[in-house]
């Protein structure tokens, strides 16, 4: 088993861990953390694909690597937006979770 | 010459690794924040400094060697500042602040 396969299996376990955290943690902030973990596991799988496709004197295929760079930036943008939403929820309702039996909270708020 | 450089590298990096180990043991075993900070600064200063010293013979030129030393200086700077800030907060808020 070479290094690329080892890191690919690591990425697979991270995907499972992140998915578990996303499903079972009730707080939005922990869900965002788990989503980031899930995303980085997927990126590791991409990296393994890039490493295996090494050719022409390069260490890895640059196309999947460029895609991962783009994906990391976009994941950060999504995380920033999600955290802004959680903080706004905190401002509006004073709670940090979306409880299933919450009666709708404030009605629309001040936009 | 290459052998001498390699021996130097192994020796200094091992010394640095020893300080890393000591600092981590201190982090885990010391009773409160201030003493743990004291252990961590040894890691930043001595541990990383010895590792950088050990890597200098392997550097590929003067520019790379300067980069290694500047990494050590930057880590020391940020480590020192963060240590001061944490210690100041601990003093203000008490040991569980």
């Amino acid at each position: 088993m070479n290094a690329a396969t080892l890191f690919g299996l690591c990425g697979a376990v991270l995907v499972g861990l992140g998915l578990y955290g996303l499903v079972t943690n009730p707080e939005p902030l922990r869900k965002i953390l788990a989503f980031n973990l899930l995303g980085s596991g997927v990126f590791l799988v991409f990296g393994v694909v890039a490493r295996r496709a090494a050719a022409s004197g390069l260490g890895g295929d640059p196309v999947p690597q460029a895609m991962v760079i783009t994906a990391i930036v976009v994941a950060f943008a999504a995380t920033a937006m999600a955290i802004a939403l959680v903080l706004r929820l905190l401002q509006e309702t004073g709670r940090s979770t979306l409880s299933a039996d919450d009666p709708g909270g404030t009605d629309g708020g001040n936009s | 010459m290459k052998l001498a450089f390699d021996i130097l590298t192994v020796f200094f990096v091992s010394c640095g690794a020893f300080f890393f180990l000591a600092g981590t043991v201190g982090l885990l075993r010391f009773p409160d924040s201030l003493t743990r900070l004291h252990a961590l600064t040894k890691v930043d200063n001595l541990g990383l400094g010895l590792v950088v010293l050990g890597l200098l013979p392997q550097a590929s030129g003067l520019f790379a060697a300067l980069k290694l030393v500047s990494i050590w200086l930057l880590v020391q700077l940020s480590g020192a500042i963060v240590t001061q800030l944490i210690a100041g907060t601990v003093r203000q808020n008490g040991p569980d602040g």
Partner: protein, 310 residues
């Protein structure tokens, strides 16, 4: 087992342990610190996978900027009343089974690669010399898939608009609510005076050298954003209001120049985002410089958050 494979195994074990601790930890603050450590370990894993540009981006954005965002959120969420409900055991067992199945599926896909691995590396290297670039990842980002990079920059601006639109109507156009710790004469002020010049040099170097060696606009822009945030948090400069003209112009200068060069390519080189032969390298460097500035501004503002006062 060679030394490097022992190192790889140790690194993987550490990554999985810190990742599991991040998920399972009760306290949110400790979980966020765990995530920052995880990001840095992952950067080392990227270096082992021979993807140094990705390692730089992961350390800067994945570990640094995301960690900073989350720490700010945890600090504010401490004041919230959380729900103390934990999901019930049957739900957790079912989720665990589902996750094991997903992991097994991905692992089977990893362990059975195709006989001949398809690779685009030869095609990338064939035409890279024409563009004058030495870094194949920069070639992919700015020449072969330049449309992706342009749209990614637009996504950053759209996310920023989304964050800004969460402000109440009354403070639209106001000043973001970044927590400032202005204590003149403190060590934080000292750091904010000493580090930004070094940081700016590092950012310019990373952007400039990205054409030949690992680096590039995104990594340099992130360091610029970090320096700007440090100076704002230490109170050495005031947080600008989002209605300021110079701020908005700084945000759009990158994508506008990129788009302009792309449209000019339609006239000069017969395709959108194509470069006229011989002028590729200067145009790409111009795009990278403009993008570094815009990315620095956008990432800094994303971390500062929506406006909270006028």
């Amino acid at each position: 087992m060679t030394i490097s494979s022992a190192f790889d195994v140790g690194l993987v074990v550490l990554i999985l342990a810190v990742g599991a601790a991040t998920i399972a930890m009760r306290e949110a603050f400790a979980a966020v610190i765990g995530y920052v450590v995880y990001g840095l370990l992952l950067a080392m894993a990227w270096v082992r996978l021979a993807a140094v540009d990705v390692a730089l981006t992961e350390a800067a954005i994945g570990g640094g900027m995301t960690g900073m965002l989350m720490l700010g959120a945890v600090a504010r969420l401490r004041l919230a009343e959380g729900n103390d409900i934990r999901t019930s055991l049957p739900v957790r067992l079912a989720a665990g089974v589902l996750c094991v199945l997903v992991t097994a599926g991905v692992a089977v896909a990893i362990l059975s690669p195709p006989k001949t691995i398809p690779t685009l590396a030869p095609m990338v290297m064939e035409n890279l010399a024409q563009s004058g670039l030495g870094n194949p990842v920069a070639g992919v980002l700015f020449v072969y898939r330049a449309l992706d990079t342009l749209l990614e920059k637009v996504v950053l601006i759209l996310a920023l608009l989304g964050v800004w639109s969460l402000a109440p109507d009354s403070v639209w156009g106001g000043i973001p609510g970044l927590r400032v710790y202005a204590r003149p004469g403190s060590t934080l002020t000292f750091l904010a005076q000493l580090l930004p010049p070094v940081g700016i040099v590092v950012a310019v170097y990373m952007c400039w050298v990205g054409a030949k060696e690992p680096g590039g606009a995104f990594q340099g822009g992130t360091v610029l954003a970090a320096m700007w945030l440090l100076v704002m948090i230490a109170g050495l400069t005031s947080v600008p209001s989002i209605g300021e003209r110079w701020l908005r112009r700084l945000l759009v200068v990158g994508p506008v120049i990129f788009l302009g060069i792309g449209l000019a390519g339609m006239v000069l080189a017969n395709a959108f985002l194509a470069y006229p032969p011989g002028y590729a390298k200067p145009l790409i460097v111009a795009v990278e410089v403009a993008l570094t500035l815009s990315i620095g501004a956008a990432l800094g503002l994303l971390a500062a958050g929506p406006p909270e006062r006028v």
